[in-house]
């Protein structure tokens, strides 16, 4: 599974970091960073939930 994170859209709410800390991080400006290129199966559900919860709509599931 791959995720796309739009750093221009991100508002730094940090929901993704709270929801799936193995997949998402925030840089010093609070903007989303992906920690992995391929989301391992054990983190897929949390990663997907973070996509649904992201307030600014900055995250997308690219492929499963």
């Amino acid at each position: 599974m791959k995720i796309a994170a739009d750093r221009g859209t991100c508002i730094g709410a940090g929901m993704c970091v709270l929801t799936a800390p193995a997949v998402y991080d925030q840089d010093d400006d609070g903007i989303v960073e992906l920690l992995v290129e391929d989301v391992p199966p054990q983190d897929a559900e949390a990663a997907r939930q973070a996509v649904a919860l992201c307030p600014s709509g900055a995250l997308r599931v690219l492929e499963d």
Binding site: I11, A13, G14, T19, Q26, G30, P55, S56, G57
Partner: protein, 401 residues
Amino acid sequence: MTEAPVLPLHMQRDQFDPVDELGRTRDSGGITMVPSLFGGPPAYLVTRYEDVRAVLSDAEHFSNARTRSFETEDGPQFTEDELEQMRAGQMLAFDPPEHTRLRRMLTPEFTVRRMRRLEPRIVEIVESALDDMERAGKPVDLVSTFALPIPSLVICELLGVPYADRGEFQQRTGRLLDVSLPMKERIAVSRENRKYMARLVEGAKAAPGEDMLGMLIREHGDDLSNDELIGVASLLLIAGHETTSNMLGLGTLALLRHPDQLKRVRDEPDMVSPAVEELLRWISIVHSGVPRTTTTEVEIAGQTIPAGELVVLALPAANRDPSFIEDPERLDIGRGAPGHVAFGHGVHHCLGAPLARMEMHIAFPALLRRFPDLALAVPDDQVDFHTFNAIYGLRSLPVTW
């Protein structure tokens, strides 16, 4: 003679529950007209979870900036210049890209990592409030000894506002959010607030500290006007203590009324995070957030709304929408309730949410462990809910142990 103020439908509650009429609206048409918000123009009230999320996600068609909510039946309350000055720095009164510019200056201060660094200090603040409660002896008012002082001190330290001034600004914030006061009086308070903050900003400019005000001046001093600095700081000060404080008071009452769930929050560390989320959903202290104004003709819940109309969101009704969550009227800390809209959604999603979560995460279990026999010190039906407040809360919560 002044008429007794009437509470608009979206603010009406029966204790913790949105009134039946709100639920009926949500479960039938989903949308209804509310005649007037305290003398302002009528508004469309949106109640369903999906619709509320859709409006909050769409800043292009639902604007925070072009708000008509300051209009009253006496006509415009401000000159254009005054409106501009009052709006400066108030993130909630702008749309992207102006909003994005302001918000991005502040996001580094509220990252999850930054909040973790604050954790030890918040623990100290909570423990010291609990010491004060113990010293004062039972019964105490939990609002004035615990729920208010903790977030108030935290935001003062973060922002760089002298905690010694809390008496005056807490009192002003209370009046600003008290919707039973005439709009003119609340506007006068808002001017006093700006004056107070202007003095602080002046001081911080002369000697910027290690706090948020100092950071804004050091790192963004060239991009931010004086009015913007005042606006940003005023918003953070109000938002930082009148919200978490209300959640701590109401959340404690909710747990006292659900003793089995209270025990789990006290005894099972893994239950604290889901409990905080479920309390946020079930209580939904923010009735509606900032009213939006439609920029074009739009459709919500199958109804066409013309351009230039006011749209108000019933957040508590949305958070109890059966299409969002099963058995929504029940408080069930086990489920965690991800996806609630208590912090809003979209680009204006609460900036301070990570801080609020951290404070609640520390404060609830600490309180329940220090006072395992915590109980109401008044009959349950005498708890004083703060009905006429822009953010739902308790006036006081007498407790004993």
